[in-house]
Symmetry: C2
Subunit: 433 residues, 2 copies
């Protein structure tokens, strides 16, 4: 596999070179590149749809599941959506060059902490060709070079999209040479994930299995979440009408997503009244219930096993547990949850604050549905993904997840020798921003 | 090794539990814990010095190098310094609970982005027992649980220090139970570095070899820098008097540290005048010079090999290269440097800006010495370490490197179903902070 290894290193080095050059590309030109991609998608529409048709036919022949085929489709309407996204991305403020801090260390010695691109991002995604367009444009907006790897089932669509995007950005500025590159095989990704000296961040977009696999296969930082085991805790001080409405929404409104509730925790004091009511609502929606022993005293439910508490069903299935206290609820969530999104329903501000402090999750909520945890609803403008990491970026991640910062120290000939020993000059350390 | 594995998992779980509880400990109590540590160090001074004496004797018997024995010494004066650091740490603002962003998503639906502890930090350090006190107190200040591993040569000192700290914090609040734990063997660290589900961040403090070894041994995020290959580029528009002063400081003032200059880049136009002058200054300081061919036309120097450009000497040895342009200097730095700290000397603002934009390093400097890159000089108040990572924290890292954030969404019964489909409610997304 010598040759795969070499070709992947060549790709990564090309991306690295592009990333170095891109640090100098101003926001105006990056925005022009986004508009050029939008125009190029419009122009190449027929070719893109024809390529997608090949993939769809292949998918039907290989008898891929209908849900996958649906995600694979990239038609007139979806291309239009991509173009609209590109146009609104142009209007977002520049994530690069923001001053996070400014300190006067001494007269004529000014320190600035300024956001800058991360460098080379590797994005691995499944099926959805619109993800390729979206993530490439987020990387261009933030001056990062990107190496893309899509699924085999979408290869014709991905190839033409990558080509269209590459040409469009190059037509705006030749410094984008190597900014967007596509890999096509699993072997290549395997090699790429070894290059922790050349790749700065990996973003997997797809199934939990994909994310888990990537996290286990590389030392490069990975931005993503491998599971969404979300909880709602209905406290004994809850407004029960509100609790019914919110718990229904968290499970039923769209169960296939990571921010849907998988386990409902109910305080024992209200369990006898609340559980029958919510169970009857869930029954009408076809939700299958699993409960612990105490819960099963009040409603009909299968018995929940120890294993069930950690499962992300992504389906109309729900675990219910009756707990004796707020503390038991918090312990359960921290132990069995995936640190994604968890909510409490209560009238007590004190208990809500305790819950939000002690639950170790990327989003903690009070009196609303876990389903709100996403970049669009949070108003982030663009969504890079949802992260359950404890470093760098957590929760719904916008463009800020694609930048880091550097320190800029601007002096007038200062040397450290003047600040040590006898008669040492003193630092002022006056914070300006 | 079954039993080592189990005991390490027990330690990690205990730290995890402590981290969950510590999320709820207010700043006032964390500061009380720091003051309790300061008092306890004072009280236990004699016992600590006696333990340190044992380690020093052991070190002399094992014939450890004098520089290592010096770092190992933890005497009256050093204990006093630790106590002073603890007292000034109390005065720093709380790194936890800072509001980074606040957005009104809709009436009665408020989103806050708030800093919070990371969780469980593992710190691996060599020799210096003061590092144990410093890093434990930084973790307590930021509400993180810490697992410490010091060098075998300092084990008596480390054991008593960990015990003193553990007792001191427990006397303030029992929720600190498990907040500070000490491991003593290499086997334990090997096991601990596997636990990426229990440990959130590893901070190695010590030699480059240690940092490199840790980075290669774990999937847990590592905060650190494995090398400091720093450059100064003297542009043809430089004030040569300033350049002489700054380049002398960057190499000579304290060559043993990561922010000292290892390679000097000089523009060809000024090389004939500048190089002989700086070479004569370096000669007086005993600096050994290695140069590329062009450089050797102007001064005496050994020939620099391809390998030399990437070496961190940490000594009075310097590479010098004559370059034809700003771009060549930037390319050299991005290719051979360690992305730590690099400076340009020039009168041209335009060239300085280009250099600071395009050099991909955690600190970029204009007209001053690379030696300024450190947490104390930058006024960060406390230094966790210096990072060359491209995610989470970069450059000199203060307490902000020990926190992440969570989203808190505070509602009044909102459900997502009301915001989709026909007659959907619209989000306001009014940014308040």
């Amino acid at each position: 596999m010598e040759s795969v290894e070499n070709s992947v290193i060549t790709t990564a080095l090309r991306a690295r070179e592009a990333a170095f050059r891109m640090q100098g590309i101003p926001h105006k030109i990056r925005n022009e590149a986004l508009l050029a991609i939008a125009r190029a998608l419009e122009t190449a529409k027929d070719k893109i749809i024809a390529a997608n048709q090949l993939d769809l036919e292949g998918a039907q022949e290989s008898k891929l599941p209908p849900s996958m085929i649906k995600r694979l489709r990239y038609d007139d309407q979806k291309i239009e959506e991509s173009i609209n996204s590109l146009n609104s991305l142009v209007n977002l403020e520049d994530p690069v060059g923001k001053t996070l801090m400014m300190t006067e260390l001494d007269e004529g010695l000014l320190l600035e902490k300024v956001t800058c691109p991360i460098g080379v991002i590797c994005v691995i995604f499944e099926s959805r060709p619109d993800a390729l367009v979206q993530i490439s444009s987020l990387c261009i907006k933030s001056s990062n070079a990107v190496i893309l790897k899509g699924g085999l089932e979408a290869r014709h669509t991905n190839e033409i999209l990558a080509e269209v995007i590459d040409r469009a950005v190059l037509s705006v500025d030749e410094r984008f040479n190597g900014a967007v590159q596509l890999l096509s095989t699993r072997e290549e990704i395997k090699e790429l994930l070894k290059l922790d000296n050349l790749i700065d961040l990996v973003i997997p977009r797809g199934s939990n299995e994909l994310v888990r696999f990537i996290k286990e296969s590389t030392r490069i930082p990975v931005l993503g979440h491998a599971a969404g085991v979300c909880h709602t805790y209905v406290d004994d001080d809850a407004d029960l009408e509100m609790a019914l409405k919110v718990c229904y929404d968290a499970k039923v409104q769209y169960p296939a997503v990571c921010n849907a509730m998988e386990t409902l925790l109910v305080h024992e004091k209200i369990a006898p009244t609340f559980l029958p009511k919510i169970a009857s609502l869930y029954a009408k929606a076809g939700v299958r219930l699993k409960g612990d022993e105490r819960t099963r005293r009040f409603i009909e439910a299968e018995i929940a096993t120890e294993k069930d508490w950690s499962i992300e069903y992504n389906d109309l299935i729900l675990n219910i547990k009756t707990v004796s206290s707020l503390e038991e609820a918090i312990d359960h969530i921290n132990r069995y949850g995936s640190h994604h999104t968890d909510a409490i329903i209560t009238r007590s501000r004190e208990k809500a604050e305790r819950f939000m402090d002690l639950v170790d999750s990327s989003s903690v909520m009070w009196n609303c549905s876990t389903r709100f945890a996403d970049g669009y609803r949070y108003g982030l403008g663009a969504e890079v993904g949802i992260s359950t990491n404890k470093t760098h970026a957590r929760g719904p991640v916008g463009l800020e997840g694609l930048v880091i910062y550097k320190y800029r120290l601007i002096g007038s000939g200062q040397v450290v020798a003047d600040y040590v020993g006898k008669n040492a000059k003193k630092f002022i350390h006056r914070r300006l921003v």
